[in-house]
Structures are given as structure tokens and as C-alpha cells.
């Protein structure tokens, strides 16, 4: 797999190894997909279902990058491309994780936790009881900053 791919090697051999790589990726992806769906339909506790689904997703993403997008730590350039992916992933983690941190904190303070936000809790109750949307956010209009 890590042999230099120059014009000198036998193209048939190289094609065979490439086909093998795609096939491996396909089989692993299929197993992981089936695993994720099976976990959902199984009798596992909910937490474990989520853990299995997330793990399968991460592994499958890694498989796709390795076997279909051909990113790896071997070879200068594909290492650079992989580092780019990892950099993107870390920035994405900051953005998505930050969003989750901020929005769940806000939502905790504004609606859901029973002790701290009793008035908004009532609003929520009223909201879900009659089933019709109401303006529950009005008192919390954010003040604009630059």
C-alpha cells in the first residue's frame, strides 16, 4: 500500500490493490451502517444505542476518508490534506460544541429547569398544553451589539 506509485510498477497489480482498498472500505462501511441500524432496533438501553450509533458514524467517516478519499499519514501531500481535515474538524468542534454549550445553557435558564425558571416553566407548560404556538420568547429579545 505504501509503495511509491511510479510508472515502473505493474499497473495491473496496482489496480488490484486499489480495487481491494475500495472493496475493504465498502464492506467496513456496510457493516458499520448495519450495526448502527441494528443498534437502534435492538433492546439496548438508550444511552448505549446513542453510543453505538455515534461510534459507528465516526469509524465510518474515518473509513471513507481512508479508503475512498485516500487520505493518510503516509506521503507528504496526503498528510497535508489530512491535517487540513483535522484542522477543519477542530474548528468545527469549536463552533458546533460552542453552539451546543451556549444554546443548551440558554435553554436551561429560560425554559426547562424547574427550579431556576419557574415563570418560564409555566409558559412552557401553557405552551405544550394547548398545543398552539405562542410568543414565549418575547421577554428575552436580545439587545443588539455591534
Amino acid at each position: 500500500m505504501t509503495k511509491p506509485n511510479t510508472g515502473h510498477i505493474n499497473p495491473q497489480e496496482s489496480a488490484a490493490s486499489e480495487i481491494k482498498s475500495y472493496a475493504t472500505g465498502f464492506v467496513i462501511s456496510l457493516i458499520l451502517t448495519v450495526g448502527a441500524f441494528a443498534a437502534l432496533l435492538s433492546d439496548l438501553p438508550n444511552t448505549w444505542k446513542v453510543v453505538v450509533i455515534c461510534t459507528a458514524a465516526l469509524l465510518q467517516i474515518v473509513t471513507h476518508m481512508r479508503n475512498f478519499l485516500h487520505l493518510s499519514f503516509s506521503g507528504n501531500q496526503s498528510r497535508e490534506d489530512l491535517l487540513l481535515v483535522l484542522f477543519s474538524a477542530s474548528l468545527l468542534a469549536i463552533m458546533a460544541g460552542g453552539t451546543w454549550y451556549i444554546m443548551s445553557d440558554l435553554s436551561g435558564r429560560m425554559h426547562q429547569t424547574g427550579e431556576s425558571g419557574s415563570s418560564s416553566h409555566r409558559a412552557l407548560a401553557a405552551y405544550s398544553n394547548n398545543g398552539k404556538p405562542q410568543q414565549v420568547w418575547l421577554s428575552n429579545v436580545p439587545l443588539s451589539r455591534n
Binding site: M1, T2, K3, P4, N5, T6, G7, P11, A15, E18, I19, Y22, G25, F26, S29, L30, T33, A36, F37, A39, L40, L41, K49, V50, I53, C54, A56, A57, Q60, I61, H64, M65, F68, L69, H70, S72, S74, G75, Q77, S78, D81, L84, V85, S88, L91, L92, M95, A96, T99, W100, M103, S104, S107, H111, Q112, L124, Y127, S128, G131, P133
Partner: protein, 208 residues
Amino acid sequence: MSENSLYPGLNLGDKHGDAHVQAESTVFGFWVFLMSDLIIFGILFAGYASYLDPIGLAGGPGPKELFDINSVAIQTVLLLVGGVAYAGVSLTVKYGHGRGNLVAWLLVCAAFGAGFLFFEVRDFISQAGKGGTPQVSGWLSSYWTLGGLHGIHVFCGILWIFAMIGQVATRGIDDVVKVRLSMLGVFWHFLDLIWVGIFSFVFLVPLA
């Protein structure tokens, strides 16, 4: 894979000379652009998660009422097979197996992509029938936006495939076309990658 790999996706290899070198900056640039696209999807994922609560659902139908797990499984398989089928395109270009094979493989990819779209649109229609339109709640807005954006990407991918078939027909498999096929490959595999996130986090996790 190989030491002289210059860009993401299956490399053309040294045999292809100029095309291989040209592809370095072009495919790399496209890859950078896809990273930007990845951020768009990532923010939509985070948004989807933040709307997935009783407030965001706003009394409208939720995941349990709307999602059809069988259809999601079919879509997943179609897209996965369609993605792997692009290996046929890449290898045909790399080893020069001719225009006929190339167009055939491209059509296979397009067919699987179209199959995926068929089931996705069918789902959207049936969800709308069950009262799950994006105008009902914040959560449904974000679900339709995220799923729809991915669907639009697949649709664009199919259009691109036909544009490439047109180019193969009119100008043959020259260097520029080879580079563009490499970009298309990266795009097509990238869509698969996003779908892994969608079926796991959009469909399966909320159902768990």
C-alpha cells in the same frame, strides 16, 4: 496511499504527467472549498440539535411520527453503493479503459444518486402529508434545511456528472477533463461522508 499522492481522492499517478501535476492545486483548492462546505453542514447539524427539544418541536410532529427507518436504510445503501461506484470512474481514467466504460460508470453513479433522491423526495412528500412541513416548527425547519441541502448537493452532483459526460463526449478525456473528474470524485465521496452524519445524527440518534 502512495508516496507521490498529491491531492485527496484516487490520484492519477505520474503516468498522467501534466494532468497529475495540474490536479495538485486544482483538486486541493476544491478540497479546501469543501472544507468550507463542511462548516456549513456542521453549523446546520448543531442547529438541528439545538432545535430538538419541546420548544423547538412546538407541538408539531416529531422524529418518531415522521421518520421512516426503512426508507432511510434504503437511501443509505443507495448512496453508499453510488459512492463506491465512483471507484469505477477513477480507475477507468487512471488506467485508460476508454470513453465507453467511463460514461457507463458515470451513469451508474448518477443512477444510484437519482435513486437516493427519489426515496428522499418521497420521504419529504409523505412527511409533509403527515403535517411535517418546515413551516410548522423550528425543528422541522432545520430538518428540512439540513436534509434538503444535502439533497441539493446530490442533485448538483448528478448535474455535474451529466456535464462531465458532455465534456467527455465533446472534448474527450484530456488533461482538463481528468482533473475535473478527480474533483467530481472528491465531491461525490464527500456527499457520502456528510450522509453518514445525517443518517446517524439526524435520523438514528433522535429515534434512539
